[in-house]
């Protein structure tokens, strides 16, 4: 075997690993002091890349000035995120700041897209591209720059944390926030400093990656966040030196993986590694710890709330009106509402899992994808009638979804969110790469329309009625489960899983049951969606949809069944009616999410 290419792969892996390390160090710093996984981190990285691009393109700055502008710009952005977006959420439910960073990331990405256009841009490498021969491989000037910045910033960070007063305060806060505050540490200032440093590092990472690939675009945030999180998890949540090791390890794994299997598998390796770490070494590779979870006071997970009790006649009346709507003969309205109700199937499932059981799933759209593909393939490859294929797809999704999420069942809090995010990505990547079964990137075309007993439902009206009936049926069933001992057990797990287990509630079992029931509903939803549009591919149900579904569920009130349907219909239909451009729509979703978390965390109808 030739050694040369492997040397190149190693260099490449270490360079990309350096970028991941820059991201992961920031995430670890933030987690350390704020106990928060910052999902806006990738967006800061993107903003950094765009600041670099703008300053090179419009100001013709030399490299050091470019980097300086990026550091200052992103540092300020980090301060703004902490100050405006997160500080007000101190002492609120654990999940609030995490959701807020998701909202911030939506807003930042859309702003970048609106200001700089969604098209990719070239980011010139300001060093020129000279390569040196070493051993059997080569190394370029940019490689050396990236390595230098990686090592340099690690050294600076070490000196800062070790030898400055503020650095000491950061370490003290990371150890124990309350104790630090009692000793007179200004933890607000510490938080702000950490966000500034972390964001500056992230922004530099963004510029360097842009130069490395000579390409930037507004969609690079999500991937960056994920990679940074994976790298940090490898090192151990909040472990700063660990994050550097994790970044390098991730870079190497990807680089060798690509060498062996091809580049379409790149992310699959990253996420497989993530799940492996979460399952086998949830404290990271570099530390061993066994801890009993702290005793919380009441209701720290979701906002305290007294749900709005809607009178039954009102709900029944709304259903009757909805059922009569097709008689008004407004196809556009019906089409829009059908889309809203299809989202409601996803929202019902998510409100059970995330709201009732408290497992904030960030990969829920993957269940739709499984359902859509299952039903589509049953129809196309096995010739099953659609009215048989759809419920079968529901069952398949319930089984497969529960199986996939199995490793995440024993996880808690933020770990669940990361794991489900990773699992969702894995599902999309498997669909993309398993061309033999799924036809890969081409997707499934020419799917037959929904049918009942041999009758095709092709009219807008009949599809609407079908979806409405499904939503009402599943909602009633879910309400019934919630009023049984299952509802009690699920909510007890959400409120305090330690106490629930101490009273004999087998948390894993009941979580699995929730995922199974939720999987069925979402699978049916995905299947119907696929048949209604007669086409799906691996991107139809993307991670964005998972986040959108979470927004719907929070809007309605976590765990609230009527709320989920309302949230889904409102968030799908309103932008449609006002004919928002697509860009502004995502921006609006992000703002809605942020405002809700800040001012009405219990949503419109209240947490149940």
């Amino acid at each position: 075997m030739m050694l040369g290419p492997w040397l190149d792969y190693t260099v490449n892996g270490l360079i990309i690993g350096n970028i991941y390390a820059l991201l992961a160090v920031g995430l670890a710093l933030i987690f350390g002091v704020a106990n928060l996984i910052n999902f806006a981190h990738g967006s800061v990285y993107t903003v950094g890349a765009y600041i670099g691009w703008a300053s090179i393109t419009f100001l013709h700055t030399p490299l050091p000035i470019t980097l300086l502008l990026v550091i200052v710009g992103c540092g300020l952005l980090g301060i703004a995120i902490e100050r405006v977006g997160l500080r007000a959420l101190h002492g609120r439910s654990r999940i609030a700041p995490l959701l807020a960073t998701i909202g911030i990331s939506l807003v930042l990405d859309q702003l970048v897209q609106l200001i700089c256009s969604p098209d990719p841009r070239a980011l010139p490498n300001q060093l020129g591209d000279r390569r040196f021969q070493i051993g059997g491989g080569t190394i370029g000037t940019l490689d050396i720059l990236i390595a230098g910045i990686g090592i340099g910033s690690a050294a600076l960070l070490y000196l800062f944390l070790r030898f400055t007063k503020l650095g000491w305060a950061v370490r003290a806060t990371a150890q124990d926030q309350d104790a630090a505050r009692q000793m007179g540490v200004d933890t607000d200032r510490v938080n702000m400093t950490v966000f500034a440093i972390a964001s500056a590092l992230g922004g530099v990472g963004g510029v360097l990656v842009g130069m490395y690939y000579n390409d930037i675009d507004p969609n690079m945030s999500f991937d960056a966040t994920l990679k940074g999180v994976v790298a940090m998890m490898i090192g151990g949540l909040g472990n700063v030196p660990g994050a550097i090791g994790g970044g390098l390890l991730l870079g190497l794994t990807e680089s060798y993986g690509i060498a062996l299997f091809g580049s379409s598998y790149r992310n699959l390796f990253a996420f497989a590694l993530l799940i492996l770490i979460l399952v086998a070494a949830p404290n990271g590779l570099f530390q061993r710890r066994r801890e009993t979870p702290p005793e919380p006071l009441t209701g720290t997970f979701v906002a305290r709330s007294r749900p709005v009790r809607l009178p039954p006649w009102l709900v029944a009346g709304a259903v009757v009106v909805a059922a009569l709507l097709p008689l008004t003969n407004q196809p556009y309205l019906l089409q829009t509402l059908t889309n809203g109700l299809l989202s409601a199937l996803l929202a019902l499932s998510l409100t059970l899992v995330a709201g009732t059981v408290g497992q904030i799933s960030l990969g829920h759209a993957a269940l739709l994808a499984i359902g859509g593909y299952a039903s589509g393939l049953l129809a196309l490859d096995l010739g099953w009638p659609v009215d048989l294929g759809v419920p079968a797809a529901g069952l398949i999704t319930a089984a497969l979804g529960t199986l996939l999420v199995y490793p995440a069942l024993r996880m808690r809090g933020h770990y669940v969110s990361i794991a489900t995010l990773g699992i969702g990505q894995i599902v999309a990547l498997v669909i993309l790469n398993w061309t033999g079964l799924t036809r890969g990137a081409m997707g499934l075309t020419g799917l037959p329309p929904p049918e009942i007993g041999g009758f095709d439902l092709t009219s807008v009206r009949s599809v609407y009625w079908l979806v409405l009936a499904l939503v009402v049926g599943i909602a009633l069933l879910q309400a019934r489960l919630l009023s049984s001992h299952l509802g009690r057990a699920w909510r007890a797990i959400r409120e305090d899983d330690v106490a629930a287990r101490s009273y004999g509630v087998d948390a894993n079992r009941y979580k699995a049951m929730a995922f199974a029931f939720g999987g069925f509903g979402a699978g049916v939803g995905g299947a119907i969606t696929a048949h209604v549009y007669s086409y799906i591919d691996y991107q139809t149900f993307s991670a964005t949809l998972s986040i959108l579904a979470l927004t719907m569920v929070i809007l309605g009130g976590l765990g609230n069944i009527v709320g989920a349907i309302l949230g889904a219909v409102v968030l799908t239909a309103l932008p449609e009616m006002f004919r928002f451009a697509a860009d502004y729509r995502m921006l609006a979703y992000g703002l809605v999410l942020l405002l809700l978390i800040r001012y009405r965390p219990q949503g419109l109808l209240g947490t149940v």
């Binding site: 066994r290 009993t292 005793e295 919380p296 006071l297 009441t298 209701g299 720290t300 979701v302 305290r304 709330s305 007294r306 069933l477 019934r480 489960l481 049984s484 001992h485 299952l486 009690r488 057990a489 909510r491 007890a492 959400r494 409120e495 305090d496 330690v498 106490a499 629930a500 287990r501 101490s502 009273y503 004999g504 509630v505 087998d506 948390a507 079992r509 699995a512 049951m513 199974a516 029931f517 947490t607 149940v608």
Partner: protein, 273 residues
Amino acid sequence: MLQVRGLARRFGGVTAVAGIDLDVAEGEFVSIIGPNGAGKSTLFNLMSGLDRPDAGSVRFDGVDVTGARPERLAALGLARTFQHGRVFGNLSVLDNVLVGAHTRLRAARPAVPVLGALLELALAAILPGSVRAEERALRADAEKILAMFGDRLLPRRDQPAFGLSYANRRRVEIARALALRPRLLMMDEPTAGMNETETAEMQELIAGLKARGQTILLIEHKLEMVMRLSDRVLAMDDGRRIAEGPPDAVRHDPAVIEAYLGHASMGQAEAAE
């Protein structure tokens, strides 16, 4: 009923529990006392499956349950309350108590291997008569338990627990534990943060439980209550047993007096700083 042998647990450099032996017989009332940080709560955690010991063993009813999962211990009839309160904030008072009765569900939770969970889902959706009847009976029982606390909890049974006063949350903890119909009831400082009247009321209630023959293990700082109720007292300091025996003997044991005084004087020194 309960046999603890050589139980130990270390946290980094701190040895929270260092080789504790403890026996509790059926119907007995045993109290554990000791200064702050003595390792009492850690001992409870080790016995109730929330934490795994580094050494030693726990047997419950002759079965080895060392490091067993908390669900299993609950199913065997062990119920505990938490020192800092772990009520389910967004659940109503009644629902909190009903979660305590979870292990008593039979009709709703068929003991079928493999497919049991699916069957349980289906039963909850169909709600056959047996499941309904069981639910009704448990509800009635839960209300009876709430009634033991006079009019403290009963009028608030449909309110979310987060709105309760601190003392009432402690009561909900105990009501929830009683709903399990425990063979062994373990309470971690049930009167913490209660005023004198409330403490007296709680003492009354616990005395009533004892009179009913309930086996009880109690952690408590209020020595007067310990002296009045206990059959036997275990005194701990720094994770070790420093004395054990009838309440009076332990109270006058020099090691116990010294442990309390030593910590008290340390406390004064800290306060003086």
